[in-house]
Symmetry: C2
Subunit: 203 residues, 2 copies
Amino acid sequence: MNLPDPIKNFIHHISKLPSIGPRQATRLSFFVINSGKNEIKDIKKSFEELEKMNICEKCFFVFLPKNSSDKICEICSDGKRNHKIIAIVEKETDLISLENTNKFNGVYFIIGNLQKNGVLRTEQRNRLAKLKNIIQKELGGQADEIIIAMNPTTYGDFNASILAKELNDFSKKITRLGRGIPTGGEIEFADEETLGNAIERRM
Amino acid sequence: MNLPDPIKNFIHHISKLPSIGPRQATRLSFFVINSGKNEIKDIKKSFEELEKMNICEKCFFVFLPKNSSDKICEICSDGKRNHKIIAIVEKETDLISLENTNKFNGVYFIIGNLQKNGVLRTEQRNRLAKLKNIIQKELGGQADEIIIAMNPTTYGDFNASILAKELNDFSKKITRLGRGIPTGGEIEFADEETLGNAIERRM
């Protein structure tokens, strides 16, 4: 069955979004059409609103600029934070999770989703060059601490070690997130690796 | 961490869409912002295009009207199809799947997603009244066959039996989709219910 062009176009564009496949995009199109023109307007508006957002020139987090000249996000322009401690995260949602702990007063740097083969994409190379440049210019060549906050997975560890090597000369200390039993977890069910880390890094 | 309003609004609207939760909506917002303003325009456009689609007044399938006066979809206005055989489906994607078999020359009727408790919602009651009305006016009170094409699940069967009762006087014959081993399936792994149906309805 040949679907009408508006639906084909919709599926084409929407299935490019992360974790939306053509099948879900098809279902979405029918849902949206059945929701009526007002609902479509609301959705269009909510995408339009995203155009107001900027990407921070220092950390690559998104932010809502107060003036059109704003280039730096609120965290990066906050004088009360320690700009010599930098947490490198893969993505915005990781930054939000860390920020929500209220336990970190440094700044962030979003490197972007890393590949499983450990090769940095051009965009990530550029971002890394930018970070090094900031450390050179604003911190006199060395940060006090760079926390490489990757997921504690095989790929995460692999990528973290690559970043650690890259940034070795740019920080007095390079650290990673602590490992152990998650709060609420049970010793009996913790895997050996996790439990080993927990005993080694006991508090 | 307090997210900026454009992102909060986006999450609010987008997480109302089927099978998109707040977490996926959040990730989507960051993805879209990072994709840049051109990509946002494309997506907005693809939603806008959906406004061109109409919902067929007879079968409730969506269609692209050639003139603004078009109220009936291509299938319902196709004189070569048998309008006395009506397949009732829950949703548009079921219609597409059946149509793609190229084995059905009747028409369709979309009743909308049915609830698990077997109670028809107001919208579904209205649609059913519309179907009865069409059968009265256009088919002289009785269709030749109504195929109740619900999923072969407990809930699907339950809802199908409710619809069958409702439509009993409006069709000479009321049928359901055939059941058996799916093509490519193995007898060894078929459940008893399916295998029972396959032996009973052997071809």
